[in-house]
């Protein structure tokens, strides 16, 4: 049972190390999805939100942690 719990914890740990970073990434993906749904005539806008959002989130997170 302990081994299974450890395995599950390790599996989650594959994707989530810093909770704030993971939440921010999911927030950016959600925002880009909303853009894609609300503004289907400009799909590149959601792409820009996604790309610039991820770069910004990474930079901000590292600056905060460093």
């Amino acid at each position: 049972m302990t081994m299974l719990a450890n395995l599950l914890r390790e599996l989650v740990g594959l994707f989530v190390d810093d909770g704030a970073l993971a939440l921010a990434i999911l927030g950016i993906v959600l925002l880009a999805s909303i853009f894609a749904i609300l503004v289907p005539s400009a799909p590149l806008a959601s792409g820009a939100v996604l790309l610039l959002g991820c770069l910004g989130v990474l930079f901000a997170n590292v600056m905060r942690a460093g």
Binding site: N6, A22, P40, P43, S46, L55, L58, G66
Partner: protein, 250 residues
């Protein structure tokens, strides 16, 4: 479903380099087990771990064909982004000196000591315990390899080249590990994680965009453009963090 060299190259490279890191981590533990208890429990544990991984691949593999491509790209893209940016963040912080570098020699020494103490406490079950340690290392690190192969390969029908890249890395580490019988501490793990984090993050952004219907300028070449942008932000983050910390600590 079209594939191009622009996709195949980065997919194989990402799978190879990421698997190299994971295989080194697993091999360090297996070597520690073999040092304390011999090759038999280490080998049996590793073999059982590989068999479990094979079952996971055989069960999950066919399921991928039944998932709509857009949904698959979106879900795997999100996982890839979480995974890649986690690695990249850690590699940036290590390169900037904020957190210490991962040292396989220390991992090997710690694992060897723990196993020796466990063996002394539970003499009757020591081979069994050693086998479980080896099994767990192979399963956990192997699951990461399986995920990476699926993540970089599934969205564009690149599972075979990505799988071959991962297999080559694992075989290389196993052969070198058996020959030198020492932890592979000279592998530049942080540089590899830095590079792989950038590639996986670039793949993640590309695939989420594809899943959302974004017509990326340049098609597949956009992956390389994203990688350059992630590299730029990562290098700037390292430089700024180093400079800021140098100012704080004279």
């Amino acid at each position: 479903m079209t594939t191009s060299l622009v996709q195949i190259g980065p997919a194989i490279a990402a799978a190879f380099l990421a698997s190299l890191v994971e295989a080194v981590e697993a091999m360090t533990i297996v070597l520690a087990v073999s040092t304390v208890r011999g090759w038999r429990p280490a080998g049996f544990g590793a073999l059982a771990g590989l068999m479990l991984l094979a079952v996971v691949v055989l069960v999950l593999g066919p399921l991928l064909d039944h998932i709509p491509l857009n949904l698959l790209q979106l879900v795997i893209g999100v996982l890839l982004l979480l995974f890649g940016m986690r690695w990249l963040r850690k590699a940036i912080l290590r390169a900037a000196g904020v957190i210490p570098l991962h040292d396989e020699a220390i991992v090997f020494a710690t694992e060897t000591t723990e196993l020796s103490e466990q063996a002394r406490r539970q003499e009757a079950r020591r081979d069994w315990l050693a086998g479980i340690v080896s099994f767990k290392a192979v399963v956990l690190e192997g699951l990461e390899v399986v995920f990476i192969v699926i993540a970089v390969g599934a969205g564009h029908g690149l599972l075979v080249p990505a799988g071959l890249g991962a297999l080559a890395a694992c075989l290389l580490v196993v052969v070198v590990g058996i020959v030198v019988h020492r932890p592979l501490a000279r592998v530049p793990e942080n540089s590899l994680k830095f590079a792989v984090g950038i590639m996986l993050s670039a793949f993640g952004v590309f695939w989420i965009g594809e899943g959302l219907g974004v017509p990326w300028p340049g098609g597949d070449l956009a992956i390389l453009m994203f990688a350059v942008l992630f590299l730029g932000v990562a290098l700037a983050s390292v430089a700024l963090t180093r400079r800021r910390n140098a100012e704080v600590l004279p």
